[in-house]
């Protein structure tokens, strides 16, 4: 497992596009000591290496195919009504390609 320190935690935060105060990172670093100690409990089970991962509790049979049923799509105004920066019926953002 990667070492953890303030810089690694900042890297993880910035990768998720948010930041915290220095004090908050310090608090998190202390929490990591407990979290990592708890993780070691999982690490104690050497049999795990032979075990398959479980993602969902069980398989759910479902059909991805369905009949085509004509419906009325969401009007543009409705789709955009929660966006707070828009222009000409589109969401406005800073230029991505400069």
């Amino acid at each position: 497992m990667k070492e953890y320190n303030i810089e690694i935690l900042k890297q993880a935060a910035h990768g998720l596009l948010f930041d915290m105060s220095e004090e908050q990172y310090e608090t998190l670093l202390q929490e990591f000591d407990i979290v990592v100690a708890q993780m070691k409990i999982i690490g104690e089970n050497k049999e795990l290496d032979k075990t398959e991962q479980m993602v969902f509790p069980f398989e759910v049979s479902t059909s991805v195919m369905r009949e085509d049923v004509p419906t009325t799509p969401l009007p543009r105004e409705e789709a955009l009504r929660n966006a707070n920066n828009k222009i000409g019926g589109q969401i406005k953002l800073p230029k991505v390609v400069l």
Partner: protein, 484 residues
């Protein structure tokens, strides 16, 4: 006359005999909601509730939810009603669609009177981390005790008698733990039995819609209305559903119950243990087989860390869409990254950020094998151990929590068995997708506490039957917090 604290059955009888109208019920529930001192409400749906209730004229004798008021946890999408998941990043968000469960309850003509608060984004177990602050336990009018979370508003409103049932959600124990602290029945049905379309995802491999009520049969009525396949949820089961309320009294007399010794051993509260053992004796006296069985303590101790890694990792990914662009407060910035970073930095609380960072750390390339994938492997070990018990027994029965509702600020040793096992064992049902129900079994210092029954996947009917039986033994049902 007041209708506060009446059950669905009692209200239904009054509605059918026209001694009360849906409008009168909604009016009283709204008055109680407006006077709420538990800090439970995000939004009171006064106009909508009154209009809908007034439109209900002719009682439907065979529909127990007709005209019944209820509240909705604010992580369910509600068309044209503000929905924040108690997070500032969703401030001002007004969904354009209803969650399937909301739609189904509308179709059943139940009357939603409000959206209720929760731990931010349902990621917490205390009822203190939402953007409105702490939600109080109605059984403690001094406001010193937690009601638990994350479905704190749903628990508070049901325990205070404003409504006979509430919608919650349950990823680790977010319905069943608050139910224990608030003297309620808290039910987490089988994963995939109820559609999650419109429920804001926290950790989809664990998330389940939850039901709060004050007695077991009322929970069954609500499950009858909510269960069933939904094309809008790709994880929704296509299995046929049962009549959960109609057959609630038909328990198999040869039922076998397992009590997990390691869970009991991790609890130190004598009152909780004594009362629990009393219920075991009562079930045995009634002819049920109850045995104390083992699950390896190492497996039990690993429940919480396994949950923490999986849920934080899934949450990190699932909440990537909260960026302030499509919804939520928008912040100007020079670049796309600036815009999103400002929205997320200002929109999430410290607690949520910490969980996301832990999740991201677990997902880092260098850590995935040691943390995330290892937790997923351990999940299988846990589920295999639980299902092995359920091969020989119909139910697992244990105290739902190690104590009555804790006081604000009471800290646990997070490496102790009391924390790792007794406080977190309910997550077993989320890992395995099992139906699991908490109901009250005792009262200490005026505060209720509960026990939990977990059964096999898709045996929700049997779990409700067992809970109904246990409720008869304890005599504890329809508990309502005393007035102020």
């Amino acid at each position: 006359m007041t209708y506060r604290g009446l059950s669905i059955d009692e209200l239904h009888a009054l509605l059918v005999s026209k001694k009360v109208t849906p409008l009168q019920l909604a009016e009283e529930a709204l008055i109680l909601a407006k006077k709420d001192s538990n800090n439970a409400f995000e939004y009171i749906m006064e106009k909508e509730a009154l209009e809908f209730a007034a439109s209900l004229k002719e009682p439907e004798v065979n529909n127990p939810l007709w005209g019944i008021p209820f509240v909705i946890k604010d992580n369910f999408s509600t068309k044209d009603i503000p929905t924040t998941a108690s997070s500032n990043i969703l401030k001002g968000y007004v969904p354009v669609y209803d969650a399937t469960v909301v739609e189904k309850l509308k179709e059943a003509k139940a009357v939603a009177i409000g959206k209720v608060t929760l731990d931010e984004l349902a990621m917490g177990g205390t009822g203190t981390s939402g953007h409105l602050g702490m939600t109080f336990n109605p059984h403690d009018r001094s406001h010193k005790r937690l009601v638990g979370g994350s479905s704190c508003g749903s628990a508070a409103c049901t325990a205070d008698g404003y409504v006979p049932f509430a919608l919650g959600s349950d990823t680790g124990d977010s319905t069943r733990k608050p139910a224990s602290y608030a003297g309620l029945v808290g039910f987490k049905p089988t994963w995939s039995l109820i559609s999650r379309y419109g429920l804001f995802p926290f950790a989809p491999s664990l998330d389940t819609v939850g039901i709060f009520a004050r007695n077991v049969k009322d929970s069954a009525y609500v499950l009858n209305a909510l269960a069933g396949h939904d094309d809008k949820d790709s994880t929704s089961s296509v299995r046929p559903i049962d009549d959960y309320a109609g057959e609630i009294e038909k328990i198999n007399p040869k039922t076998k119950v397992a009590v997990i010794k390691g869970i009991l051993n991790s609890i130190s509260d004598k009152t909780v243990l004594d009362k629990f053992n009393e219920t075991v004796k009562s079930l045995k006296d009634a002819g049920f087989a109850v045995d104390y069985v083992d699950i390896d303590e190492k497996i039990l101790s690993s429940l919480f860390p396994t949950y923490f890694v999986i849920s934080c990792a899934e949450a990190t990914s699932n909440n990537a869409n909260l960026d302030g662009i499509k919804f939520g407060p928008y912040y100007n910035g020079a670049t796309f990254e600036d815009v999103v970073t400002q929205a997320r930095t200002n929109g999430f609380s410290e607690l949520i950020k910490r969980r996301f960072i832990i999740g991201n750390f677990a997902l880092m390339k260098e850590n995935q094998n040691d943390l995330f994938l290892r937790a997923q492997k351990n999940r299988r070990v846990i589920v295999d151990a639980v299902n092995k018990v359920l091969k020989d027994y119909d139910f697992i029965y244990c105290p739902a929590a190690p104590s009555i509702a804790p006081k604000v600020g009471e800290a646990s040793d997070r490496l102790s068995n009391e924390y790792l096992i007794a406080d977190n064992h309910l997550v077993i049902a989320n890992f395995a997708g099992l139906p699991s129900i908490t109901l009250p079994i005792g009262i200490k210092d005026g505060m209720p506490f509960g026990a939990n029954i977990t059964g096999r996947a898709f045996e929700d009917k049997q779990v409700l039957q067992m809970a109904f039986e246990l409720e008869k033994h304890t005599g504890l049902k329809n508990l309502v917090a005393k007035g102020e």
